[in-house]
Amino acid sequence: MMKIEAIIQPSRLESVKEALLEIGIEGITVTEVRGHGRQKGHTEVYRGREYTVDLLPKIKLEMVMADGLVNRAVEAILKSAKTGKIGDGKIFLSRIEEAIRIRNEERGEGVL
C-alpha cells in the first residue's frame, strides 16, 4: 500500500477529483491548507500599504491505494493539476504499513 499526498492549486481540485474517479480511486481526503514553496506569495496593497502574502491557499489531497494503482494515479494527478505555472504544487509518496476499517475492524488492502 502507498499513500499519495498531493498539494495542488485550489482551482484544479474538481478536475483532479474527476481524473482520479476515472481510474477507480474511491477514497480521498481533501484539506484546505496554506503554504509556500519557491513561489513566495504575492503582494497586496491597501491604501498604499503593501503586504506580502507569503502563505497562499492550496488544497491537500490524501489517498491510500494498492501499489498497482499508484503509477496511474500519479499520472492522472500530473495531467489534471498542471497549469504549467509556478505554484502548481507537489506530490509526495510514502509506504503505508496497515489500513484498518473502523466499522468492522477489517484489515489490509481490502479496506481501501
Partner: protein, 479 residues
C-alpha cells in the same frame, strides 16, 4: 355683474402674485412670508376675503407638508449613514477580532448622543443667539414643538429640524472612531465622546449654523460658507481624529505587522450606503423640498463620482491597479469635500471639487501618513480632516450667487463671482475649526486618560477588543 368682475380681478391678481412668491420661496427657504390676512374692504366683500385667507393657509400648509416629508426622510437617511453605513465601512476595514468593537462604538454613539441631544445638546447648538455657543433655552427640548422655528426652518415643525440636526451630531463623533480603532477602551470612548460633543461639536455647530454665530454665513463676523457641515462635521472630527491617533500611539505591531482589512465586502456595502445617505445630509441641508435641495443633491452625486475616479486614477498611475478600496475611499472623500459646497456650487465645479479631493486624499492617506508615521488606523484624518479642509476652501472659490444668493439677491458670493475675499473667510472658518478641535481634543484626552484610561492593555489589544472588551466575537462560523 360688476362685483363679479372685481372678484375675478382680485383672484387673478392674487394668483399672479402667488406664483412668483412661491417660486421665490423655493429659492430662499428659510424666510417664507407668513400669510397676511386680507381684510374685507368696500372693494373685497367679506366672503371673498375669507375665502382668500383660507386659500393662503392651504397653500402654506401644502408647502409645509412637502417640506416636512422630505426633511423626515432626510433625517432617516443621515442616521443610515452612521448605522449601518459607517459601521459597515469601518467594520470591514479593521481586523476580524475588532469588528464588533468598532461597530459597537458607532451604535453606542447613536444612543448616547441622542440622549444628550434631548437633554442639552439641541439647546447648546441652536438655542439663543450668542456668538460662540447656544444656551439652555431649549434644554430638555422645552419649547420644541410642531410650530416652526423661523430662525432656522420656517416651513417645517421645529421637532423635525431638531431631529434632523441630531443625526449630524451622531455621525460626527462616530467618524473619530476610525482613528482610535483597534486600541481604545470602550469606557474611555464613551466618556471622551460625551465631553467632545459638548466641548467641540456644540460650539462649532452654533458658530457656523446657529443664530448670531460668529462664523454664520448670514450676519456672522467671519461669514463662512458651510452648507452641510464641511467644517462642523468633517474638519472637527478629522482633526480630532489626528490628535487622538497621535495621543494614543500606534497599534501593537504597526507598521511592521500586516493589518489588512478583514472584509472589504462589508466596507463596500457600507460605503455605498454612505453615498446614498449623503443625499439626506447634503440635499436635506436645504431644510426644504425646493430647488436648492435639488441643486445640492446634484452636486453631491457629481462630487462623489469625480472623486472616485480621481482616487482610482491616481492609484492606477501609482500602483498600476485601481483597487475597490481605493474607489470607495475616493467616493467618501468626494462626499466629504462637496459637503460644505453642495448648496453653493453648480454641477461643473462639483466635478472639479470631487476630482481634486479624490487625488488629494489619496496622497494624504498613502504618502503623507507614511511620511509622518502616525497610526490613523482607518484614515479618519486623511479622508475627513483633509477632505473637509480642501472642500471648505474650494467652496470659497466655486460658490456662485446663481445657485444660492446667500448674501442677498445679485450680490457676489465666492471666487467665481469675483469675490475672492470669501476664500479668506473660509480659511478663517477652517482655522477656527482646526483650533477648537485640536485644543479641545487634547485637553479632553488628558482628562479622560486620568479618569478611565484611554488605551486597552496590550494583551487585550492582541486578543482583540471584541473578546476582551465585549466578551463576544463577530464570527462564530463553526457553531
Amino acid at each position: 355683474m360688476k362685483w363679479k368682475g372685481v372678484v375675478c380681478c382680485c383672484l387673478m391678481t392674487l394668483l399672479l402674485t402667488a406664483f412668483p412668491l412661491l417660486a421665490q420661496q423655493s429659492q430662499v427657504p428659510a424666510t417664507p412670508p407668513a400669510p397676511t390676512a386680507i381684510a374685507a374692504t368696500s372693494e373685497v366683500p367679506k366672503a371673498v376675503a375669507e375665502r382668500l385667507n383660507q386659500l393662503e393657509h392651504k397653500v402654506a400648509a401644502a408647502q409645509s407638508s412637502a417640506d416636512n416629508a422630505w426633511m423626515l426622510v432626510s433625517a432617516a437617511l443621515v442616521l443610515l449613514m452612521t448605522g449601518p453605513g459607517l459601521a459597515l465601512f469601518y467594520g470591514g476595514l479593521v481586523r476580524q477580532k475588532n469588528v464588533l468593537a468598532i461597530m459597537m462604538q458607532s451604535f453606542a454613539l447613536m444612543a448616547l448622543i441622542t440622549v444628550l441631544w434631548a437633554l442639552v445638546g439641541y439647546s447648546l447648538c441652536f438655542g439663543g443667539s450668542g456668538p460662540v455657543i447656544g444656551n439652555f433655552e431649549h434644554a430638555f427640548l422645552r419649547g420644541v414643538g410642531v410650530t416652526p422655528n423661523a430662525d432656522y426652518a420656517g416651513t417645517i415643525p421645529q421637532t423635525t429640524f431638531m431631529i434632523y440636526q441630531l443625526m449630524f451630531a451622531i455621525i460626527t463623533p462616530a467618524l473619530i472612531t476610525g482613528a482610535t480603532a483597534e486600541r481604545m477602551k470602550f469606557s474611555g470612548t464613551v466618556l471622551f465622546m460625551t465631553l467632545w460633543f459638548l466641548v467641540v461639536y456644540a460650539p462649532m455647530a452654533h458658530m457656523v449654523w446657529g443664530k448670531g454665530g460668529m462664523l454664520n454665513a448670514v450676519g456672522g463676523r467671519f461669514p463662512t460658507l458651510d452648507f452641510a457641515g464641511g467644517t462642523v462635521v468633517h474638519v472637527t472630527s478629522g482633526v480630532s481624529a489626528l490628535v487622538c491617533a497621535l495621543y494614543l500611539g500606534k497599534r501593537v505591531g504597526y507598521p511592521k505587522q500586516p493589518m489588512p482589512p478583514h472584509s472589504l465586502v462589508l466596507s463596500f456595502v457600507g460605503a455605498c450606503m454612505l453615498w446614498v445617505g449623503w443625499f439626506g445630509f447634503n440635499a436635506g441641508s436645504a431644510l426644504a423640498s425646493n430647488g436648492l435641495a435639488s441643486s445640492a443633491f446634484v452636486a453631491t452625486q457629481f462630487g462623489a463620482a469625480a472623486a472616485a475616479l480621481g482616487w482610482s486614477l491616481a492609484e492606477w498611475l501609482k500602483n498600476g491597479r485601481a483597487s475597490a478600496l481605493g474607489a470607495i475611499s475616493g467616493a467618501v472623500a468626494g462626499l466629504v469635500a462637496i459637503t460644505p459646497a453642495a448648496g453653493f456650487v453648480g454641477p461643473m465645479p462639483a466635478l472639479a471639487i470631487g476630482f481634486i479631493a479624490g487625488v488629494f486624499c489619496f496622497w494624504m492617506v498613502t504618502r503623507f501618513k507614511a511620511m509622518f508615521r502616525y497610526d490613523d488606523a482607518l484614515d479618519a484624518f486623511g479622508v475627513h480632516g483633509a477632505g473637509g479642509t480642501i472642500g471648505a476652501l474650494l467652496t470659497g472659490v466655486f460658490a456662485q450667487a446663481a445657485f444660492n444668493p446667500i448674501f442677498g439677491a445679485g450680490k457676489p458670493v465666492g471666487g467665481l463671482d469675483g469675490r475672492w475675499a470669501q476664500v479668506c473667510n473660509q480659511l478663517v472658518g477652517v482655522l477656527i475649526a482646526w483650533t477648537i478641535a485640536a485644543v479641545g481634543t487634547i485637553v479632553l484626552l488628558k482628562l479622560v486618560d486620568l479618569l478611565t484610561g484611554l488605551r486597552v492593555h496590550e494583551e487585550h489589544e492582541i486578543a482583540g477588543l471584541d473578546i476582551s472588551l465585549h466578551g463576544e466575537e463577530g464570527y462564530n462560523l463553526e457553531s
